[in-house]
Point group: C2
């Protein structure tokens, strides 16, 4: 049995309960809100964030029955940002389907994103924990700033690795960190445990985004559910190309820049850039950085004694690195 199958086997029941909570708690008064929200939420999402929250709570000894409900906050928030980000990026396809705004238009998509964001805070408030609400509100503010930063960097060929890190920290890592941290808080964990799970989530989140950015260069298109090279076509420079540009000869650098600046990059242009990225080790470098973060994520869990849940969190980290979509 492969790693993915092992994980899925272990979390089957959790996933069933998370799906049920996702459907039960939406409660809009307009059917359209439900349609759009469900379209984005039930189109192949892996429920990584809710699952991480549930497992983090369990690792800290949580025995209550509010974990599944609270966990969906992270899926609602994630869905809200997907709706807004696809619109911001001018994307066409997500997970093999047309993006929501191409079906329902920008206005409804913006507003349903707002609705999901607000619902997620409302559900979090039901815990009665201001600390949890506070984490979510700050994370949401950071996420929008990360997306704006990415937008400002668009097409900028001088973007540095440090700036890339600033962006992915805000747009991706903080939400995954928040899921783990909130799980620990729900489990009334000690400060040290809360911090350990926050660190785990942070490093996992960084690695997860790096792998996402890698897959945009290397994935099988059918598995990915969209064409490779999307980031580059949107003028989004990610670590593989940032690293390669920093190492390339003047001549190769100019070749890459010319292609990236071209609005109508052909498949053969993309292959040329990919060849140069590989030549200068951009793929290997990014994978190495991702692996380091996965190692740090797993190391953060050392303070917890061995358990089935800890093993599962470690497996999830390994899978984040090994995944093909």
């Amino acid at each position: 049995m492969g790693l993915k199958e092992q994980i899925l086997e272990s979390v089957r029941q959790d996933l069933v309960e998370i799906e049920a909570a996702l459907t039960e708690n939406l409660k809009p008064y307009l059917p359209l809100v439900s349609h759009i929200a469900k379209y984005i939420m039930f189109s192949g999402g892996k429920r990584m964030r809710p699952l991480l929250m549930v497992l983090s709570a369990r690792l800290c000894g949580y025995k209550g029955n509010y974990d599944k409900t609270l966990s969906i906050v992270f899926e609602y928030l994630h869905a809200a940002t997907l709706l807004h980000d696809d619109l911001v990026d001018g994307a066409d396809i997500r997970r093999g389907n047309p993006v929501a705004h191409s079906i329902w238009g920008n206005p409804a998509t913006v507003l349903v994103g707002d609705f999901l964001l607000a619902r997620s805070i409302a559900i979090a408030a039901q815990t009665g924990s201001v600390a949890i609400v506070d984490i979510l509100a700050h994370t949401t503010a950071q996420m929008s700033e990360g997306e704006i930063h990415q937008l400002l960097n668009r097409g900028d060929l001088a973007v540095k690795e440090t700036e890339y890190m600033e962006v992915i920290r805000r747009k991706t890592a903080y939400l995954i960190q928040a899921a783990c941290q909130v799980g620990a808080l729900l489990g009334e964990a000690q400060q040290e445990q809360v911090q350990a799970l926050a660190d785990y989530g942070y490093h996992l989140g960084i690695a997860f985004q790096m792998v996402d950015d890698l897959l945009d260069y290397t994935a099988n298109t059918r598995v990915l559910g969209k064409a490779t090279g999307t980031d580059l076509r949107e003028g989004k420079l990610t670590l593989p190309v940032i690293y390669a540009l920093s190492r390339a000869t003047k001549e190769d650098r100019r070749r890459m820049e010319t292609i990236i600046r071209d609005m109508d990059m052909t498949a053969s242009d993309f292959d040329t850039v990919l060849g140069l990225i590989k030549k200068y080790g951009g793929i290997a470098y990014t994978r190495d950085r991702a692996r380091e973060h996965i190692d740090q994520a797993k190391k953060s869990l050392d303070i917890f004694s061995a358990s089935k849940t800890r093993t599962l969190l470690e497996q999830l980290a390994d899978y984040a690195l090994a995944r093909e979509m």
Copy 2:
């Protein structure tokens, strides 16, 4: 001294402190977020919502110094919805200035709206009161649903008064209600007082939106800061025209419908519709409904003993009806 000048005289110091809090608490890490947020927030807003929160707290005996900071939550939330709504409506002008999305583009405008929304919840969480956070989160969800409902109604000539009420309740009244209610909660008011201020805010909010909708037909364009007839041109049917359509003869109804359906309504077309709205009492009817809600708002305050603050809240209600912009 006119009513407006009297009110401004009484709240001068409060407004100064609210302005200071608005600037101090934004704290984005990107300058662009600050630019866009300030553009929408410092372009002639009247600070009605923060002011209502501050006065509501004071009426309930609040003596602390967190009121101004908390009050800006309502301006941030309001600004967030203005950014998103202008984009949703495809508006060009707000308060005499080009709308934000025409300067910075839709993507940044969507994301800065998200940022403001998140910041407002984060500031509310600083109170340590889950009840306050909960009100804000629910209000935000309702507001997005109100806007979606309005969007769905767009161009629909069969919209009824009840449906119009559903929309304005969500898109406008609940936020003003929340400001008053949160003020009362900050002032640790008794349940009866919280309810009274919630009622005051609700009816004030309904009347405020009705007057807004009236002004779109009757205002002096220079004072309004945008052309009259904007709602109708956007296919937004408000109470004056809904009422007139319900009372018009078959023939007049058809004349109005033809003009409203026309994408390129001329100034003379608009005058024709306005004439028919007046003929069937749409303006007078809307003003009467608004006056009833203002009366109910003021009546809600009866449980409070006479005070300078209560008088001020009553004056604000009168001004909401009398205002020319």
